[in-house]
């Protein structure tokens, strides 16, 4: 995209959501379909709309409509690229529009519009290619008819159909005639040979950069509607507590406060602007029914769970005979790993705007889970889900939080807005966001493991204690076995890349009142740490180098070996380092991609400094390689927060940490140099948003062991090294 903004790739139309609403007023039908708002002025162009994903206008504007939510992972660039490849159109000239909620944008495996699980590219790749190829074929047919030639003699290039004599017709010139053609049968559509790709596999600049450096991009918190009110909600600080009574006399006298009402999650203060809503909430006095909840603490859970981890749990994996192998193993370890609750801490705190009228609701929000939001809001309001329209904005981070199990922030906004008759935006403060729960689960594991005569692992037995993630979401019914096994609790060790002849993984499902949720890479960020940590411990027991040990284990798995070897080579494993620096290595497969990382670390007293991370990834096809690199950088830095300092602890039923002063996250001065190499393979397309997170914790802790001989089994390091 040109830096002067002359070809804004995400069109102004998209960003006219707010402006269009202002112009059209609340009565306008366009409010309900913001993706139609805007336009170029004057007569509407004649458009070719072969599919819900694509429009081509007679002025050559090509608009791709994307049903996945953009939360940083680059889907507003990578997905349009796939369509543009088959269409033969320069992706930088595309406009991208945020899709409405419509079954055509549903996830292929789930009856819902949903963005998560690192599945956006691999679940839409074929359909986007197909739509691009179909449109191209129809444009060629239209050109052939106009010139009176055989379609097979024509070719396409960068938005034009070209004949053997060199005549050209732009797609815009063909849009009207193409629109009159019948859609070709699916089996007649020919896709390109990947060897001839012009765009897929080559770096493409993000299409949303310009609007994100000028302040134009509209996030949920930026939504502005005529007559809109702002609200805050006083929620119970203690998990599981509810409102007993409240006195709003003082709060109602705060200038700008419009109304105060009880909602299921607490007491809402509705005001003319955010500041009044905050001041009004401060002036509220609420008595909570929280006696039971106050007993909850991380300390109490720890001792309870440590005892539980010594008992047999639900079996999640059982290969060979672990008990026998442990009994006969020549050398054994018995260790305990502990990982804390973690907040997602998206930069944009939770928020949602709702307009509720009779049996009808409009929602504006950054969400990963549009269909579920509509269903849950409809249920909360007692209306038909068809009458709930979800208008997706940009997401100021997601990491799983914006696909919450019960659509908490959407449902709450609907409750607050009910009966108001005007749009109400519920804004969460950072403390609201951080203390509300929906954390990565707290987890304690006991592992007994042994090595055989060859020094390689012969047995690995893990008992995990923690609250199951999928079981606590709408996917629970589908995902959890009748025995109560939630695969997300055991993923990362039960299916680890390293072959272990005797592997048994068991789990105890806990039920504490803390809401938990998928957190970037879900079970892999927990069990990937345990798996790689234990492998490191066994390598040390065998007196072997952790890289060479992994090489030996992966000898018969060439795809994994290639990624591992490439990371070691990129990092210069075995070559001398500056004084005081040490390396650690880890490899984890998750979401269909294999990632290996080498961390270069120094330790001074209790201070751990990560200087450099070398990262390799095999994700099959890298559609937009530079964004694959960007996601590795992002996932590493996100995971590093969890290594170094971030943790949520519970005391007297309340989350102790509430803001970035008590929940430190990675900042510029601590951010390492990151080198990423994509290892090409012919494997299927893997995910990319999450798989970079799991290896960083064990890689850093392996390096700390190399530096200090201290084994880190509890994160964050601030808890472990104190």
């Amino acid at each position: 995209m040109s830096a002067d903004g002359s070809t804004p790739a995400i069109g102004r139309r998209h960003f006219l959501i707010g402006a269009g609403v202002v112009a059209g007023g609340l009565a306008a039908g366009t409010l309900l379909r913001p993706y139609l708002v805007g336009g170029r002025g004057g007569a509407a162009p004649k458009e070719f709309k072969p599919h819900a994903f694509l429009r081509i206008a007679d002025d050559d504007t090509v608009t791709v409509i994307i049903g996945k939510s953009e939360m940083g992972q680059g889907v507003y660039t990578g997905l349009p690229m796939i369509l543009a490849e088959e269409l033969d159109f320069d992706p930088q000239r595309l406009k991208v529009e945020i899709a409405p909620v419509d079954p055509v944008f549903n996830h292929p495996f789930l009856p819902a519009q949903f963005t998560g699980g690192s599945m956006s590219t691999n679940t839409t790749y074929e359909s986007l290619r197909h739509v691009g190829a179909m449109a191209r074929s129809m444009l060629v047919t239209a050109a052939a008819a106009r010139w009176g030639v055989d379609a097979s003699t024509l070719r396409t290039e960068a938005g034009k159909v070209i004949d053997t004599a060199g005549r050209e017709l732009r797609y815009g010139e063909l849009a009207e005639s193409a629109a009159a053609l019948p859609l070709p049968a699916k089996e007649t559509i020919r896709l390109k040979d990947p060897k001839t790709f012009s765009y897929i596999g080559k770096p493409q600049k993000r299409l949303d950069s310009r609007v994100k450096v000028t302040g134009e991009a509209v996030f949920g918190i930026d939504v502005d509607l005529p007559g809109m009110l702002m609200a805050t909600v006083a929620r119970a600080p203690v998990f599981g507590a509810s409102v007993k009574s409240f006195d709003d006399t003082r709060a109602r006298s705060v200038p700008g406060v419009v109304d105060i009402k009880q909602v299921p999650s607490g007491v809402a203060v509705i005001a003319e602007h955010t500041w009044a809503a905050l001041k009004g909430r401060e002036a509220l006095s609420v008595e909570w029914d929280d006696a039971d909840g106050k007993k909850l603490s991380t300390e109490a859970l720890r001792s309870e769970w440590q005892a539980l981890a010594a008992k047999p749990g639900i079996v999640g994996q059982n290969i060979g005979d672990t008990a026998k192998a442990l009994a006969s193993g020549s050398r054994r370890i018995e260790v305990e790993y502990e990982l804390p609750y973690l907040a997602h801490a998206c930069m944009e705190p939770m928020n949602a705007t709702a307009l509720v009228k009779d049996d009808d609701c409009d929602l504006w929000l950054g969400t990963q889970s549009q269909s579920q939001d509509a269903q849950f809001v409809a249920a909360a309001l007692g209306i038909d889900p068809k009458n709930v329209r979800v208008h997706t904005t940009f997401l100021g981070g997601g990491f799983g939080r914006r696909a919450s199990a019960d659509s908490d922030f959407a449902v709450e906004a609907a409750h607050v807005a009910k009966g108001v008759g005007k749009p109400v935006k519920v804004v969460w403060t950072r403390e609201d966001d951080m203390r509300r729960g929906y954390y990565r689960p707290y987890s304690i594991s006991k592992v007994r493991a042994a090595i055989g005569a060859d020094g390689l692992p012969s047995a690995f037995h893990q008992v995990i204690v923690g609250k199951p993630v999928l079981a606590n979401t709408a996917m629970g019914k589908m995902a959890v076995s009748k025995e109560g096994l939630d695969p997300s609790s055991v993923e990362g060790t039960a299916n680890m890349a390293y072959p272990i002849p005797n592997l048994r993984v068991e789990v105890h499902n806990t039920t504490e009142a803390v809401p938990i949720l998928w957190w970037r890479s879900v079970g892999h960020s927990i069990n990937g740490f345990v798996a790689n940590g234990v492998i490191d411990e066994l390598a040390a027991l065998a007196k072997r180098d952790p890289y060479e040990y992994r090489q030996a284990m992966l000898a018969d798995k060439p795809r994994y070996r290639a990624v591992l070897d490439a990371a070691a080579e990129l990092a210069g494993w075995g070559q001398p380092l500056p004084a005081g620096r040490h390396r650690g290595i880890a490899l984890q497969e998750s979401f269909g991609s294999i990632v290996a990382q080498v961390a270069e670390v120094s330790v001074t007293g209790k201070e751990v400094r990560v200087h450099r991370v070398s990262c390799t990834v095999d994700c099959g096809i890298a559609v937009n390689p530079d964004q694959v690199v960007a996601q590795m950088e992002s996932a590493i830095n996100y995971g590093l927060c969890a290594v170094l300092e971030s943790e949520i602890t519970i005391r007297d039923g309340v989350a102790v940490q509430g803001n970035f002063d008590s929940y430190p996250v990675l900042r510029m001065a601590a951010a390492p140099q990151i080198d990423v190499r994509i290892v090409n393979s012919d494997g299927p397309i893997g995910g990319i948003g999450e798989p970079g997170t799991p290896p960083i914790a064990p890689a850093v802790c392996g390096a700390i062991f190399a530096a200090t001989s201290k084994r880190i089994r509890r994160l964050p390091l601030s808890a472990s090294l104190s």
Binding site: M1, A3, D4, G5, P8, E70, M71, G72, Q73, G74, K205, R206, D208, S209, R210, K212, V213, T214, G215, E216, F219, I221, D222, P255, G256, H273, T274, W275, K279, A345, C346, M347, P349, F394, L395, G396, G397, G398, F399, V427, R430, D626, Q627, A630, E633, S634, I636, N637, Y638, L640, N659, F660, D661, V665, L666, R667, M668, A669, A671, I674
Partner: protein
């Protein structure tokens, strides 16, 4: 009535003098490019310039602004994105979710205004107050240097 000079325009607002500048900009003046992230000057998402100095608008009462000239991200170059920092950010594909980037861009713009050739240490010091949960730090570091280069080239020409 409080008078504010924002992006070169004189604006009058009738507000509680304690209201942080952030909410005045966002809710009253509809300049939503400046973001709320923490409310306690810990994350930098609300960074604006006051007389060219980067300030955290979430903790600055609107009454404390006085006659200082406020510049928000919208006032850097309008929609054109021609400021050297914006050019560098686009060139190096810095943004991910983008929420913190208004603040990052404003902090970087102030840095290269004061320091035409910032080193890694200068960048660490100037940018350490701006959190990015997408972890775009390596690209921000490179883009600050690139922005300084673009600015120097522009100044030289």
């Amino acid at each position: 009535m409080i008078s504010l000079k924002v992006n070169g325009v004189e604006r009058q607002i009738d507000v509680d003098p304690d209201m942080p500048l952030l909410w005045a900009l966002r809710d009253l003046l509809k300049l939503t490019g400046t973001k709320y992230g923490c409310g306690i000057a810990q994350c930098g998402a609300c960074t604006v310039h006051l007389d060219g100095q980067p300030m955290r608008s979430c903790v600055m009462p609107v009454s404390a602004v006085g006659s200082a000239e406020i510049r928000t991200v919208e006032g850097l170059s309008g929609a054109a994105a021609t400021h050297p920092v914006q050019q560098a950010w686009i060139e190096l594909d810095v943004v991910q979710c983008g929420y913190c980037q208004s603040g990052q861009v404003m902090a970087a713009a102030a840095l290269i205004e004061q320091n035409p050739a910032p080193t890694d240490a200068d960048i660490d010091a100037a940018m350490n107050g701006n959190i990015c949960r997408c972890g775009t730090y390596p690209r921000i570091r490179a883009a600050v240097k690139r922005a300084a280069e673009i600015k120097r080239a522009g100044t030289a020409a």
